[in-house]
């Protein structure tokens, strides 16, 4: 039985912004995603990771009522996901696709006026001004969107997504194709959304930005592989370890590490470097240092081994032939 553990629960606080329960989408005989379940709390930044073709965008489209799931159920912004509820759900969410899809012959302000009208706003001027200000585009309001750089277009897309003050914002690869400076600006804007209490559902390939921004991440590869906080995933996947580096190779490392209480196992990693599996790296570091010094070793460094979200991702995906095939 695979049960939910507290670590996978969304942070407490109000009814969930998203509840996804065994959701599946097939296109005829082909499977886009299968049996996906998770919950996202209000105000949470939730990362949705996975390789190309894993079903991330299709999941967003299903939750955004653009396509109908084949089976399973969900509620979005507190509204059950049914075909009849489509307009109500879309009124309370915003989706920014990978390509912001702006009308290039219209100005920034005209693009936003269109969408404010579609959200039923009768006097959209102040709302548009506020959205533009939040993405630092007030000065470009009269520019044609066709004349903007890709980074600026992404910002217009974000401003558009802010127009209806959404309860849940879906951002699909928001930094895709952006240079590092533009990507950094977009990430800062997403961080700003978190501070405003907006629930953000972020699909991305960029693990560094997921690690930096997301409260929790889900890793999808047609089926859901894992959900949790990045540090939890690291702990689950990788044993805790210390990396020891000495000035010269140890003559009898097995004798030293084997006699040190708390070291579960060890392996060499280079001529004078060793990885020790321990239960509590922080408390074990002084013990290991003393044992090494007693044995006459010159210790260069003892550090806790760090695993990034990328390590977690690769660990989950690399062994998967489906992912390798894509």
């Amino acid at each position: 039985m695979v049960g939910i553990t507290r670590g996978e629960d969304p942070p407490a606080g109000g009814s969930p912004a998203l509840v996804v329960d065994h959701l599946t989408k097939r296109f005829g005989e082909r499977l886009a995603f299968e049996d996906v379940s998770f919950t996202v709390a209000p105000g949470e930044v939730f990362g949705f990771l996975g390789p190309n073709g894993a079903g991330k965008t299709t999941t967003v489209r299903a939750l955004g009522t653009l396509i109908a799931p084949t089976s399973g159920s969900a509620s979005v912004a507190g509204i059950p996901l049914t075909s009849n509820n489509g307009p109500e759900i879309r009124q309370r969410i915003a989706i920014m696709p990978e390509n912001p899809g702006l009308y290039k012959r219209l100005t920034v302000a005209e693009n936003l006026q269109l969408f404010a009208g579609l959200y039923g706003q009768r006097n959209p001027g102040p709302r548009i001004a506020e959205a533009l200000e939040s993405v630092n585009l007030t000065a470009r309001a009269r520019d044609l969107c066709g004349n903007l750089s890709k980074g600026l277009r992404q910002r217009v897309g974000l401003a558009r997504a802010l127009l209806n003050e959404p309860a849940v914002m879906f951002l699909d690869e928001p930094t895709s194709g952006l240079d590092p400076v533009a990507a950094h600006e977009v990430l800062d804007l997403i961080n700003g959304l978190r501070q405003r209490g907006v629930t953000v559902f972020l699909t991305t390939h960029r693990l560094d930005e997921a690690e930096r921004l997301c409260d929790r991440v889900a890793i999808l590869n047609t089926t859901l592989r894992s959900v949790g906080r990045p540090d939890e995933l690291r702990e689950r996947l990788f044993s805790r370890s210390l990396v020891v580096e000495t000035l010269a190779p140890l003559p009898a490392p097995d004798a030293i590490f084997g006699s040190t209480t708390g070291v579960e196992s060890w392996r060499p990693e280079g001529p004078s470097s060793y990885v020790l599996t321990v239960d509590d790296p922080r408390n074990m570091a002084p013990h290991v240092t003393r044992a090494l010094v007693s044995a006459g070793a010159d210790v260069v460094s003892i550090t806790e081994s760090q695993h990034s979200l990328e390590d977690v991702y690769l660990q989950l995906i690399d062994d998967d032939p489906e992912a390798a095939a894509r």
Binding site: M1, R61, L106
Partner: protein, 277 residues
């Protein structure tokens, strides 16, 4: 959430703004009517001062028929671009992520085409009237052009013919995957109503008030039925994924046949699968 005139108007306003910013659309809209202006003017100016009332009536009648070609042909190309064009420039998905209903989108798009097309038809009609009053050598021409039935027919048929072209064009656009194909088919499909015009011109039918009323009613019913058919054809999922049910979704990338799916071992207790054994 009910039909919203506000959302439909937002789409209409966007369409008109886009036309205004596109010299190509304005140019093609202007050139075609000019072509249909020349022949009626030539017909009217060639009527000599001694030509009798019956001959004048016949000539003026054919002038009216020619004037109806413009509102029937003009919208076809633009309507055929309406949905597939949005898809091609990547703006359809953001539109569909809003509360916009398909009927609101379709009517907004249709009005965006009908306004310039019918407007252009009426302008042509006004120009012909003005030129006849200023330059026609036969006074009967002016009175024939000013006859109530003629004016009513022009006012009535211009939007009805445009409606046919627009709904057929949008219907093709909602199913087509290529703008060029949609526009070719859209133009061809605007021709059937014009066949009636041609039959009248070739004296197969004699124009009469009864014929006009019957034809107008048929067109009105056809426009309403076409609107319903086009609404049904507007498949949000197909338009977004860019493929039929058997194809993979755009952006969703390759999908895996069910038999090929292999789960990798889950990390201990890592699945958020509420209540799942």
């Amino acid at each position: 959430m009910k039909f919203s005139v506000g959302r439909m108007t937002a789409v209409l306003r966007k369409e008109l703004r886009e036309y205004r910013r596109s010299p190509f659309i304005i140019g093609t809209m202007a050139v075609l009517p000019l072509v249909f202006l020349v022949e009626p003017l030539v017909i009217i100016f060639r009527i000599g001062p001694t030509v009798g009332a019956a001959a004048v009536d016949k000539a003026v009648g054919s002038t009216f028929l020619l004037l109806l070609i413009a509102p029937a042909l003009l919208p076809a190309v633009i309507a055929a671009y309406s949905v597939v064009g949005e898809r091609e420039q990547g703006t359809l998905e953001p539109l569909l992520t809003t509360p916009l209903r398909r009927e609101e989108l379709l009517l907004g798009k249709a009005l965006g085409v009908v306004v310039p097309a019918v407007g252009m038809g009426y302008i042509l009609f006004a120009v012909i009237q003005l030129c006849a009053r200023l330059f026609a050598s036969n006074a009967l021409v002016v009175s024939a052009l000013g006859q109530g039935p003629h004016i009513i027919a022009e006012v009535l048929f211009a939007p009805l013919l445009a409606g046919w072209s627009i709904w057929v064009g949008i219907g093709i656009s909602a199913r087509a995957s290529d703008v060029r194909v949609a526009q070719q088919l859209g133009t061809l499909s605007s021709l059937p109503p014009l066949a009636v015009v041609a039959l009248v011109s070739f004296d197969v039918f004699t124009p009469s008030v009864t014929l006009a009323v019957v034809f107008a009613v048929i067109l009105l019913i056809a426009d309403i039925v076409l609107f319903r058919i086009v609404s049904a054809l507007f498949d949000r999922e197909r338009l977004i994924t860019g493929a039929g049910a058997q194809k993979a979704p755009a952006g969703g990338g390759d999908v895996i046949p069910p038999g090929a799916v292999r789960r990798i071992p889950r990390v201990g207790g890592s699945d958020d699968r509420r209540g799942h054994p």
